[in-house]
Every structure is written in C-alpha cells, then in structure tokens.
Symmetry: C2
Subunit: 346 residues, 2 copies
Amino acid sequence: LAAGRARIAVDAMGGDRAPGAIVEGALEAARELGQDVVLVGDSEVIRRELDRLRADLPVQHASQVVGMAESPSDALRRKRHSSIRIAFELVKRGEADGVVSAGNSGATLALGMVVLGKLEGVDRPALASLLPSLEGRTLLIDVGANVDCRARNLLQFGLMGSLFLQHVLGVDKPRVGLLSIGEEDSKGNELVKRANELIRAGSLNFVGNVEGRDIFLGGADVVVCDGFVGNVCLKLAEGLAEAISRMLRTEFEGSLSSMAGYLLARGAFGRFKKTVDYSEYGGAPLLGINGIGIVSHGKSSPKAIKNAIKMAADFVRRDVNRHLTAGLKANAEMVAKAVAAGAEIG
Amino acid sequence: LAAGRARIAVDAMGGDRAPGAIVEGALEAARELGQDVVLVGDSEVIRRELDRLRADLPVQHASQVVGMAESPSDALRRKRHSSIRIAFELVKRGEADGVVSAGNSGATLALGMVVLGKLEGVDRPALASLLPSLEGRTLLIDVGANVDCRARNLLQFGLMGSLFLQHVLGVDKPRVGLLSIGEEDSKGNELVKRANELIRAGSLNFVGNVEGRDIFLGGADVVVCDGFVGNVCLKLAEGLAEAISRMLRTEFEGSLSSMAGYLLARGAFGRFKKTVDYSEYGGAPLLGINGIGIVSHGKSSPKAIKNAIKMAADFVRRDVNRHLTAGLKANAEMVAKAVAAGAEIG
C-alpha cells in the first residue's frame, strides 16, 4: 500500500456517543489528516449526521448494531449484519485496510478474530493499551482478550507489544517487563514463573518482572500480563484516577481560598488531564489478527476517534503485521524447544 | 480478655524506618490510647531508642532480624530468633494477644501461619487491605498471601473479610463483591466463574462481580480476589497515586500563577492526602491465623504503627477470631456440598 492510501473502516454505530461523536471524529481525520475513511452502519442515520455536519464521507450500510451489553457469542451468531462485522468484512475483501470501533469491545475482539483470522505463528491475539507514565507511556498487553493464558501466550504478547511499539511508535529496543508481585524471577503465580523462564529464553529486551507501580512510574515500555489481570488493572486505574479527581474537587469546594487556588491552578490541571487522557492515544490495538483492528473506549470523543483512525493508518503504512509475522517466526523455534523441554505445562 | 487488657507485641526491628518510627508509634499507642504493648527486637537498640524518647516500655529481646529482601523460606529456616518470630511466639505462649510488624511482609505471613497455625475451617489465611473509596473504604482481600487460589479459597476470603469489617469496623451486613472484568456472572477467568457460583450459594451479602474501578468508586465493602491479582492492584494503586501526585507537582511548578494556586490550595491537598493515606488504617490484617497479626507498610510512620496497634487491640477485644470460626463453620457444609457437586475443580 502506498503511503497515505490506507483506508480505515469506522464503526459509526458503536460507543456511548455514537453516531454523533464517531462521525465527527472520522470527519476530523478526513479533513485534518487527509485520511481515507468509510463509515459503517445504518446509512440513513449516518447520512443524517453528515448532513448535520454539512459534510460528505463514504458510507457502507450495515443493518444491525451490537449492543454494548450483548455477549460476544450472541453478536457472532445472531448479528450477521452488524456494523462491526461489516467493517471487518470490508478489510477481508480488500475494500478497507483497518477497523476502528468504540462499540462492544468483546464483540470487536471476537469478530476481528473470526472474520480476519490470526497471523501465522499467533496462538492468541491480544489487546494492548497505552497508559501514561512518568516516562511517557507504557503499553500494557493483554488487557482483556484472553482471560486464561499459558506461558507461551504471554511470550507472544511481549513479542507483539514490543514490535508494535518499535514499528508504530518508533521506540528503539522496547524494554519488556512481566507483571508480577516482586522483581525477583521466583516471584509470581505459576503462570508468571513459567512465562518468566520462557521470555528470558527469547530474543526480547526483557527487563524481568515488574510490579503494578511500574506501569505508571516507568521502567518498562511493554508490560505483559494475562487479559484478566490486565483488564482489572485498566479499570482500576480508570476508577482511581476518577476517584482522585472527584476527591480533589470536593476538597477544593471546601473553602474560598482553595477555590481561588483551584482557579489559579486550572491551567496546570488542564495540562495534567491531557497527560493522562486516553483520547490522546485513541484506542487499543488488537494485535495478532490478520488485519488491523483498533478498539476505542466506549466514551470516545471525536478526538479519540480521530487519533484511533490515525493509529490504524500508521499501523497499515508501517506494515506492522509483516514485522509481527517475521518476529513471531524468529521466536517460534525457541518456543517449540522450551515447550518440548517441559518449561510450559500450564 | 477484659476490655483494654489486650497486649500487642510490636516488631521493633521491621520496616524502613525501624527502630525509631516503630518505637515512637508504640509509645504513642501506650500514652495516647493506654495500650499495653511489648517491643520485640534487639533489646540494646530498643533501650537506646526509649532513652532517646525519655520513655519506658516492656521489651522482649530477639537476637535476629529478617531483612526486607530476605525470602520467607530463609526467614523460616535460618532465623529462629528473629523479632517477627519471637513476637508470634509471645502470642503462642499467651504472653501477648496480637502482633504488629512493618517488616518483611512475606516473612510475617509465613511466620504467623507457622507459629500460630490456622483457624479451624480456614484452608488459606489471607491478607486484607483497607483502601480509600468515595464511599469511605473498601477491604481488598487477598493482597498477597496466596498467589494461586481455588474457588473455595476466594469464598473463605469473602467470609473472613466480611466478618472482619462487621466486627472490627462495625459495618452492618458488608456488601461482598468478586473482582472480575465485567458485572455479569459469566464474566471472568475460570477461577472467578467458579468462585462466583460458590459465593452466590453461600450466606454472604454478595453483590456479584465488581470491576477494578469499583474498588475506589464504591459499590462493595469487601472485594475478593486471589493474592496475585490483589497484590498487583495494591501496587498499581500506589504507583498511580504517586505518578498523579508527581505529575501535578511538575505542572504546578510550571508557572507563577499555578504556584500561587498551589499555595492557596494547599489545605485542600493536605485533606485529600489524608483521605488516601494508608497510615490512617495502620496496616493490613492477616485473617485466618489462630491469633492476630497486622502487617504494616514498610514505610510506616509512628502514626501508622499506633493505628496498627489500635487495630490489633480492637481485633482482640471484639474477639474477631471467634466470629470468624463460627462464620466459617456455618458455611462449611455448603462448601462441602458445592465441592462434592463438582462446582469446584480448579
């Protein structure tokens, strides 16, 4: 694909603020970034939004919508014409190069895997999330695609996360850490202890076990964990950030001098909020599928959608999946040996 | 034991600020709360601290100290005369009623279990931690005693956490949530799905699955998880709070008006910091051992130690272990039935 020609299919129906915020975000990507997009969903609804914005963008009709609370298996079986599915089918038919959805994330994961299949050498695709850290950012992988994992899955998550950072975000030799409850190799549950051995034997820039605190304080560029732990972490961080911000607000409302202080300090708060704002990154890439899928937050703003579309397009242009396939292949022999040697049982 | 006569053995050698902060905290507990304490550790060192503070408290000599980085198994095998061990032995001999240690937490867990044994009906003792929430506080259990768990362990953690909140902190019918990655019963890994069934069958005030965000936003009084997940959560929360506070500080240093704002708002920050300050709670109770052990943070201040001693004494006075034993017994038959029915395999 020529640079700039990546075409991104955007699920216009998914997310708490769909279709309005989604269509607006796609429009910003088209206008500000010159990005080629196609909006997927109920064409009447989408046309109405475009009219409201006095704009025009390509639309692909999809007659069904997966609800935010629907189970992925229901979405797979009963919604053959959902906007998420049609978006992935555009990629499969070569009519688009990547998908962005802020809709039901479980359904997006499942449909991405079912419609596009997995990359060669990938046992389990994984969802990666960029989180702010004092050093800039940390990629946490997996944040929810695989709740029960084997050690080899964690190794592959590390590989995929590392190659993504390297090729999409230009991080040189990303440092990969394994999320555990102590830095020593002997610390952790059975899964993590086995994964530590396996990752250490691989070709990654492995910095060993890291702890929950390191995700935000820095020390590793990629932090590897199973999807249950990663999802708990993601939501815990969201909840804590919200709780801290609400507690601070309550405190500031307590007295006139604090209120005055708050007003003076507002600029600092604004800049801080931007630092921890996930919409700067736009979405979480689903790594390991034979195509490109970005899962955006359900509450995505137009800006988050625009940035997710940008991430998907960069993903295409940098040909990340070719790098992933090559990287996985280079490590496959080592994994096979380790498995044969019994390092991987669980 | 008569009210007020609980005697707490305090490990004077454990923690980053030992012995100074520990001896000071014990002294505050004695003077401000009329608490009966005994300081355990190198008697010469402790006497020197007491002299410095112009105070006197009972001292029990212990010739060894477990280092903060030592493995629990080394502490068990090689340190027969460690201050932590001697403290638990005082409880075993009936010369003290509970232990507080800010030292090596793994060693404290291991020694508490080995020296005192488990309560009848407890398969695995667990470490519980009180975290601040918008509703007040949430008890997270287990935060590190058991990295690989079975469903029945999680049920028992829920029972113990619930009884602790009820009898030590006076929470009426504590709401128990199971930490998962979605509120539906079907969400979670294998362990959590089985635990959900088991806890639902029990006699707890079970509110179902909760997510990471609920720990800080509220919705459950007790949040149950395995010790790996709980420890990751605890350290993640610590790291995120630290990162947010450092990012805010950097922002405030950026301009004169923000600095002025910060100075005006300082009171609000101070009150906020107090809300999230673990030293208000003092420590994490080790629930399920045949005795009382409170694990304090390695960085404990005198105030944190004082509050941990108060928690241990309340634990004794409210006779929590009798309530725990009775509660576990009342649920034992249900667990046995569920296990026999195959609800518990993993």
